[in-house]
C-alpha cells in the first residue's frame, strides 16, 4: 500500500506531501464486577496523506495543507482524484509559508519489553488479573472495569526526505470502585501504562478501594471559604498542564498567550519557583520531528516555546514537535505527611477537575476531600473548588513524595494558598 500511495501521489502531480501509515491491533475486555461483559479485538490500518500547496500571492509566499484519508479499497483513479481535489482545495486554505521539518531518516525504533512482546490477548488477561488482585477489601469492591491493550506501528514518509518508523504498546483502561455502607458511593479512575505495570495497577486499585471506603462515610459539612488546598496525583498534573499549554507556539502565535522565552511567567512568588521539563513519549512527532526531553521552565523562567513546524516557524523557532507529557522537577520542600499537619483541605477526587489554559481558572465538584485541622482528617464530600492559578501560583508548596502517570511525573502533592471553595453550607 505504501508504494501504491507514493506512485499515485506522483501520478497526481503532488510535489509536497506527508504520508502517515498507522496500524493498530487491540485486545479489549469489559467487566461488570468480576463477570465478563464483552470481549473485543481490533485490526485497523490507516493511511493519512497530507497534501501541501505552495503559492506566491502579492509577493508573499503561502502554504496550504489538506489531509486525505486513503482506504485500501479505493481504486487508483479514486485515490488520484482525492489527491487532486485536496490540492485544489488547498488554494483556499493558504496561510503564511513555513518550512517543512528537517528531513530525518533512521532505522525503525522498535519498542521492547514484555508488553510489546506479548500477544495483546494475553497481556489483557494479565492486566485484568492485576486489576482484580486487589479486589478483596472489606466493604469496598470493583464495580466494573475496562482493559485495553494496544499495539501500534507508525511510519512517516515525506516528500522532503523524512522516513521514520516506530512501534508502540500501551495498556490502559478504567475502573469504578464502590462501597455500599454507610452510603452507597462510587469513584471512577483511569490508568495508562507503556509497560506491563501489573504491580502498579494492583497498588493503585488498592488505594482507590481505601478512598472509596472513606468516601462512603464522608460528611457534607464543608463550609464556604478560602482554604489552603492540597491537590494530589493527576489533579496536580492537570493544574501544572497550564504551563505546557500557555508555552505552546499554538497559543503564543495568535496572541492567546503573551509568554516569550526569557519571561518569568510565574512572577513574584513566595513559594516554589517552577521547574518543568517536556518529556518525549514517542521517538518522533506526527510530523516526523525527533522528540527529546526539553527544559521548559527554569525557576519560573520560560526556556522554550514548543510546537510543530507551522507555528514554531511563524515565531522563528526551531520546531520541537507537539508535547503532551511533562515532568515537574521541583524536589519539594516537605513530605506529604508534613503538608497535612497544618489546617488545609485535601481534595482527593472531583467529578471532573479542569484547568482552563485560557482563563487560568481551575475547579470542579468535590467527590472526596479531607478537611484537616492539623490533627484529624475528616472525609467530606460536596461543594466545589473555583480557583485561579494566576493568583495561586504566587505561593505553591510541593511535596517531596513523587508520582508518575502516562503524561506526568513529579511531586505527588501541591498546596495552593487561599483557594475559593463553595461549601455545602449553602444548600
Amino acid at each position: 500500500m505504501e508504494k501504491r500511495i507514493l506512485d499515485l501521489l506522483n501520478k497526481a502531480g503532488i510535489e509536497e506531501y506527508r504520508i502517515t501509515f498507522f496500524t493498530e491491533r487491540t485486545a479489549e475486555l469489559f467487566f461488570v464486577k468480576k463477570q465478563l461483559d464483552t470481549r473485543r479485538i481490533k485490526d485497523v490500518a490507516k493511511y493519512l496523506v497530507t497534501v501541501f500547496r505552495i503559492e506566491e500571492k502579492g509577493g508573499e509566499k503561502l502554504k496550504g495543507a489538506i489531509d486525505v484519508m486513503v482506504l485500501s479499497s479505493m481504486s487508483d483513479d479514486e485515490i488520484v482524484k482525492a489527491f487532486k481535489d485536496a490540492y485544489f482545495a488547498a488554494q483556499f486554505a493558504l496561510n503564511p509559508y513555513y518550512d517543512a521539518p528537517k528531513p530525518v531518516t533512521a532505522a525503525p525504533a522498535f519498542k521492547t519489553g514484555r508488553l510489546a512482546e506479548l500477544a495483546p490477548e494475553k497481556a489483557a488477561g494479565l492486566m485484568a488479573e492485576a486489576l482484580f488482585a486487589a479486589d478483596n477489601a472489606e466493604g469496598a469492591f470493583i464495580n466494573s472495569a475496562e482493559v485495553f491493550i494496544s499495539k501500534k506501528t507508525m511510519r512517516i514518509v515525506t516528500s522532503t526526505g523524512t522516513d521514520v518508523s516506530w512501534t508502540d504498546a500501551k495498556a490502559s483502561g478504567e475502573y469504578v470502585v464502590q462501597a455500599k455502607e454507610p452510603e452507597d458511593v462510587e469513584m471512577y479512575r483511569q490508568f495508562a501504562y507503556t509497560e506491563l505495570e501489573t504491580e502498579e495497577l494492583t497498588r493503585q486499585v488498592k488505594e482507590q478501594l481505601t478512598f472509596i471506603h472513606d468516601r462512603a462515610r464522608a460528611e457534607r459539612i464543608l463550609k464556604s471559604g478560602n482554604y489552603d488546598l492540597i491537590l494530589t496525583g493527576e489533579n496536580t498534573a492537570e493544574v501544572l498542564s497550564f504551563y505546557l499549554s500557555r508555552s505552546s507556539a499554538y497559543m503564543i502565535y495568535p496572541g492567546y498567550s503573551r509568554w516569550a522565552v526569557g519571561d518569568d511567567v510565574q512572577g513574584e512568588a513566595a513559594g516554589e519557583k517552577m521547574e518543568l521539563t517536556l518529556r518525549a513519549k514517542a521517538p518522533y512527532s506526527g510530523e516526523g520531528i525527533p522528540m527529546i526531553d526539553r527544559k521548559l521552565l527554569d525557576k519560573g523562567e520560560l526556556k522554550l516555546a514548543h510546537g510543530g513546524a507551522r507555528f514554531c516557524g511563524y515565531l522563528g523557532l526551531e520546531p520541537t514537535g507537539d508535547y503532551d507529557s511533562f515532568s515537574c522537577d521541583n524536589a519539594g520542600s516537605m513530605s506529604f505527611e508534613e503538608m497535612k499537619k497544618r489546617p488545609c483541605l485535601w481534595a482527593v477526587t472531583f467529578s471532573d477537575f479542569q484547568m482552563d489554559a485560557f482563563s487560568g481558572h481551575f475547579g470542579g465538584e468535590i467527590r472526596l476531600a479531607y478537611l484537616i485541622d492539623g490533627e484529624k482528617a475528616i472525609p467530606v464530600t460536596g461543594g466545589s473548588v473555583n480557583g485561579s492559578l494566576l493568583e495561586a501560583q504566587k505561593d505553591i508548596v510541593f511535596s517531596t513524595d513523587r508520582f508518575k502517570s502516562e503524561h506526568y511525573s513529579g511531586p505527588y502533592a501541591m498546596m495552593l494558598r487561599g483557594v475559593a471553595v463553595a461549601g455545602t453550607d449553602a444548600e
Binding site: V176, Y253, G255
Partner: protein
C-alpha cells in the same frame, strides 16, 4: 455518496452467513463517514477532513462466553475466511487468558426480529457542493466583522459537516441509512492581563449548509458578551433562584439527569435512578424525552446495534417512567432496547448513549420568569458538565450568570460559575418553563472521559433553585 458500501453489501451478507454457521448469532455494522471542517481565526485558515467515525466494520457474534466483537477497516469478499478464522482463534485466546474467577455475564441471544429500513439524509445545501471557497469567504466575513469591535483579541469561526452512511445486517435485519449534520460556532476572545475570556455561540442542524445563513447577524451579541466577561465578578457561593437559558437547561437535562438513566448503568448497579422508577423525581412541570422525535444532529432511524429508534419518555410530568437502553443491557435487564446503543466509531464498543434529549416546553414567557425573581441569576453559555449517575450529584459549568434584582436584569455579570447540588432537588424546584424549546446539537458527549458521540440537548428557559459556586 457512499457507493463503496453499496458495492460491499453482498459480501457483507456472505460474511454474516459464514459467521452464522460458526456462532450462535452474528451481525455486522458498516460505517462510512465523509467529514469536512472549515475554520478561520487568528491562527489562520484551515480545512480539515478527518472525522470521528471514519470507515469501518464491527462484527458482533455470540458464543458460549457471551458477546464478542471484531473491529476492522478493510474488507472484501476474499477476506471472509480470514476474518472468521481470526475471530475464532483470537477470541478463544482472549478467553483463555482471563484470570481465575471471571465468569461470563449471562446474556440472551438477540431475538433478531425482522426489520428493514431505508432512509436518505435530508438537507437543502450540501456544504461540499457549496464549496470550500464560498464557505471560507463567509467565515472570513463573519470574523472580520467581529474583529472590527474594539477589544476583541480573536474571533474564531468554524463549520463542520458530517455525512454518514450506516448499514446493519444480521440474518433477519437489513437496515440502511444516510445522515448529515452540520455544526458551526462563533467564538470571541478578549484579554485582560494574563486572563483570556471567551464566549461561544453554537449552531447545529440535521442538514447542510443552510445552517450558515443565520450566523452573521449574531456577531454583535457575541462580541458584546465576551467584553462583558472582562468585567465579570467571582460568584458568591450560595443557593439562588435561577433561570436557565435553553442551552443550560439542555446541559442539566443531559449531564445531570440523562446519564443517570442510561441503563447499562442499571446493569452495573451504578445508577440511583434504578430505585426511583415510578416515583416523582422532578416537578410536575418536567417531562423529558430522548430519541428521534426531534430532527437534530443525533436523529437516526436505528442505532449502532441495529435497534430501531423512537421517542422515549423518560420523565412524565415529574414521574420517572423508564431509562434509555442499548440491546445488550436490554437483554440483561429483560426490557426492550430503546435504540440507544451507540458507538464513538466502528472501532469502539457500543454503550447506552443519549441521542436528542430535552425537556418539554411550559407556558411562561421569559419576561414573566425574570419578573418573578427578587434576587437571582440568568445562567447562560454552558461550558462543560460531568455525570454522577450513582449519587445524582451535579457538576455543570456555565460561563455567565447575569444578576437579576427585583425582577430585572441589573447588568452585573459573574463568571465562571459551577453548578452543584442534588439532581432531584434541582428538578423538583423547577417552577416555570417557557413556551418554546430549543435544541443544540453542537456537542459531543463522552461516557466518563471517552467514547465521544454526537448528541443534542435542550429544552425551554427553566426557572429552578440552584446552588452556584
Amino acid at each position: 455518496m457512499f457507493e463503496n458500501l453499496t458495492e460491499l453489501r453482498p459480501a457483507l451478507k456472505k460474511l454474516v452467513a459464514a459467521l452464522d454457521e460458526k456462532f450462535k448469532f452474528a451481525s455486522v455494522l458498516a460505517v462510512s463517514e465523509r467529514f469536512r471542517s472549515w475554520r478561520a481565526s487568528r491562527s489562520g485558515i484551515s480545512i480539515g477532513s478527518a472525522g470521528v467515525r471514519g470507515f469501518g466494520f464491527v462484527i458482533r457474534v455470540f458464543d458460549e462466553t457471551g458477546c464478542a466483537e471484531y473491529s476492522i477497516n478493510e474488507f472484501s469478499e476474499e477476506m471472509i475466511p480470514k476474518i472468521v478464522s481470526e475471530m475464532e482463534t483470537r477470541l478463544a485466546e482472549e478467553k483463555a487468558a482471563l484470570p481465575d474467577g471471571v465468569t461470563p455475564l449471562e446474556t440472551k441471544i438477540p431475538e433478531d426480529t425482522p426489520a428493514v429500513i431505508r432512509k436518505e439524509a435530508s438537507y437543502k445545501i450540501d456544504p461540499i457542493e457549496m464549496g470550500d471557497e464560498a464557505i471560507l469567504v463567509l467565515l472570513n466575513r463573519i470574523r472580520e466583522k467581529g474583529m472590527e469591535t474594539e477589544g476583541i483579541l480573536d474571533m474564531m469561526v468554524n463549520v463542520s459537516c458530517s455525512a454518514e452512511r450506516k448499514i446493519f445486517l444480521s440474518r433477519n435485519r437489513d437496515l440502511d441509512e444516510t445522515h448529515m449534520w452540520t455544526n458551526a460556532a462563533i467564538v470571541a476572545l478578549a484579554m485582560r492581563g494574563e486572563e483570556v475570556k471567551d464566549y461561544f455561540r453554537p449552531y447545529s442542524i440535521l442538514g447542510g449548509a443552510e445552517l450558515l445563513e443565520e450566523m452573521e447577524k449574531d456577531v454583535p451579541s457575541v462580541t458584546k458578551a465576551v467584553l462583558e466577561l472582562l468585567d465579570s465578578e467571582p460568584m458568591i457561593p450560595g443557593e439562588y433562584d435561577c433561570i436557565c437559558t435553553p442551552d443550560v437547561t439542555g446541559m442539566i437535562v443531559h449531564e445531570a439527569f440523562g446519564h443517570g438513566v442510561e441503563m447499562d448503568m442499571f446493569v452495573k448497579d451504578r445508577a440511583l435512578a434504578k430505585q426511583f422508577i415510578g416515583e416523582y423525581v422532578a416537578s410536575p412541570l418536567v417531562t423529558m424525552h430522548d430519541g428521534s422525535a426531534m430532527n437534530e444532529s443525533a436523529t437516526w432511524s436505528f442505532d449502532d446495534e441495529g435497534t430501531p429508534t423512537g421517542d422515549t419518555i423518560i420523565i412524565d410530568h415529574g414521574i420517572l417512567r423508564t431509562g434509555m437502553c442499548d440491546a445488550l443491557s436490554g437483554m440483561r435487564l429483560g426490557v426492550a432496547p430503546t435504540g440507544n446503543g451507540r458507538r464513538e466509531s466502528p472501532e469502539r464498543k457500543a454503550y447506552t448513549r443519549m441521542t436528542n434529549t430535552y425537556f418539554e416546553a411550559g407556558e411562561s414567557t421569559v419576561e414573566e420568569m425574570i419578573a418573578s425573581i427578587d434576587y437571582g441569576f440568568l445562567l447562560d453559555n454552558p461550558s462543560s458538565g460531568m455525570e454522577d449517575p450513582k449519587n445524582w450529584g451535579i457538576q455543570c459549568m456555565v460561563n455567565i450568570a447575569r444578576e437579576i434584582k427585583d425582577g430585572k436584569l441589573t447588568g452585573r455579570i459573574f463568571s465562571p460559575i459551577v453548578l452543584t447540588g442534588y439532581v432531584p432537588d434541582l428538578l423538583k424546584s423547577v417552577s416555570m418553563m417557557s413556551g418554546k424549546i430549543e435544541l443544540s446539537g453542537c456537542g459531543f458527549c463522552g461516557k466518563g472521559y471517552k467514547e465521544w458521540v454526537k448528541v443534542s440537548d435542550g429544552g425551554p428557559y427553566m426557572k429552578a433553585r440552584i446552588r452556584l459556586g
